[in-house]
């Protein structure tokens, strides 16, 4: 049986935004704190702290998870994508462009989580319906935009139904 004793650390190897990272973490370390405080990636934010709001969303092997309620040790051997990893150099991701074009960003607090959640949805379903976008965004809270502009921005990046890219 593998054991990480209390108050001791364990070495984890994680690919963060495409870059391999080795870190020593305690079993109780939360992924969100490791990203923000150890790796200086401040895009994922602590807000509700109970997996309700989506502000701390990161993609783990492509799937959205709440970094506020996820043990860092569990990221060992896996790929983490934060909002900082969306752009390629100076070139923004199409979703980021669409969020700007559609006015889907106001205060910006939810934006990182929204973008990553949208990225996961489109990877899974390239041509979602508006209703499916809304359903997938359940649990991603925005208190500024009323969601419509966010949904429109995501749909602008969706492949038209029935059209191969």
């Amino acid at each position: 049986m593998h054991v990480i004793p209390i108050r001791s650390s364990c070495r984890i190897r994680v690919t963060v935004n495409g870059r391999p990272v080795e870190l020593d973490v305690r079993p109780e370390a939360l992924l969100l704190d490791v990203l923000r405080d150890r790796l200086e990636l401040k895009g994922a934010r602590r807000s509700c702290d109970v997996q309700v709001c989506g502000a701390c969303t990161v993609l783990l092997d492509g799937a959205p998870v709440s970094a506020c309620t996820f043990l860092a040790v569990e990221a060992d051997g896996r790929e983490v994508l934060t909002v900082e990893g969306l752009a390629t150099g100076d070139r923004l991701d199409p979703l980021q462009e669409a969020f700007m074009d559609h006015g889907a960003v106001q205060c910006g607090f939810c934006t990182a989580g929204m973008l990553l959640t949208a990225r996961a949805l489109l990877a899974e379903e390239p041509a979602p319906s508006p209703a499916r976008v809304a359903e997938y965004l359940r649990g991603s809270l925005c208190r500024c935009t009323g969601y419509r502009k966010i949904v429109e921005a995501i749909l602008a990046c969706a492949r038209p139904a029935g059209v191969a890219r």
């Binding site: 049986m1 990480i4 370390a29 989506g54 799937a63 043990l71 959640t117 359940r138 649990g139």
Partner: protein
């Protein structure tokens, strides 16, 4: 922030059970962490040992088994939503899995964790009750099985012994021709009420019915009197009798007052939603799709 703990990653049920037996209330089982990490962060639970059961082989398995559907404890909601065996045997369960909490919770949260945590405001136990679910518990000493209705004893309270872990839940698929529905209502993150209905058919008549109501009381329960009343009627007459059956179910539940509403409110909403769920199930049994829409309601 979490207080320090040791993380155990047992490779067998026996190893997990041993840590549980040794550390007692200082230990907690852990799979997805969507429930236990929350109460650890809130300081409502303090442990020195967290036992991650995700490395125990076979515990995440979902399989058709001897006419039943067996869902391993560490299967995530997402896995249940997608599993071909679930779609083939108990499609309603796949639909419910798709609407549990939100996408992040579904990606890591597990079926076993959900049942063993026994949060009253939850979907799975309610819908599993209309599949006559049986949970499998294992420890160093061996295995036992328990009907889900006996396993869940109250709010956050189960029949699991201190050294036991829940390893799987077994569902009995409905006979051919049966139809059902799950309807949940709520304006908060967790559901305020969930109703599951199954109607078994004998030609145009209702040969048997299962009605389960969750979230309104400390634990989900079957509405036996309502089920009994439904039996033998013609499906086509259900709409006429739905009020009466819904009132029976509302009389059977044991609602409690909490942040989701008063017990009187929940009893009345039970009546409203049992009626609605019966009508959806009846429409499906008749081969019609329902286009019912209600505010703050998800119809599965």
């Amino acid at each position: 922030m979490l207080r320090p703990f040791a993380l155990y990653q047992p490779a067998t049920v026996a190893e997990a059970s041993e840590v549980l037996a040794r550390d007692g209330r200082d230990a907690s089982l852990y799979a997805g962490g969507t429930e236990v990490l929350l109460i650890l962060k809130a300081g409502l639970l303090r442990v020195r040992s967290l036992i991650d059961v995700k490395r125990v082989p076979g515990l995440a398995e979902i399989r058709a088994d001897d006419g039943h559907l067996s869902i391993g404890a560490t299967a995530t909601h997402r896995a249940v939503e997608r599993a071909p065996a679930v779609h083939a045997r108990c499609p309603l369960v796949a639909g419910v899995a798709r609407h549990v909490a939100n996408i992040r919770v579904r990606n890591v949260g597990t079926v076993g964790g959900n049942l063993a945590f026994a949060d009253p405001h939850s979907d799975l136990a309610t819908v599993f009750l209309v599949f006559d679910a049986v949970v499998r518990l294992a420890s160093r000493a061996g295995e036992r099985e328990l009907p889900l209705g006996d396993f869940v004893r109250g709010a956050y309270e189960t029949a699991r012994a201190e050294d036991e872990l829940l390893t799987a839940v077994r569902l009995a698929p409905w006979p051919a021709g049966a139809a059902g529905a799950y309807v949940k209502f709520g304006v908060h993150e967790r559901p305020t009420l969930g109703v599951a209905v199954a109607l078994m058919r004998d030609g145009a008549a209702i040969a048997g019915a299962r009605v389960a109501v969750g979230c309104v009381g400390p634990r989900p329960q079957r509405a036996g009197a309502a089920e009994e009343r439904l039996r033998g009627w013609a499906l086509a007459d259900l709409e006429r009798h739905a009020d009466e059956v819904a009132a029976l179910a509302a009389g059977e539940v044991e609602p409690v007052t909490d942040l989701h509403g008063s017990s009187e409110y929940k009893r009345d909403m039970t009546r409203v939603f049992v009626r609605r769920t019966l009508l959806v199930a009846a429409a499906r049994a008749a081969g019609r799709d329902t286009h019912a829409r209600h505010p703050h309601t998800i119809i599965v």
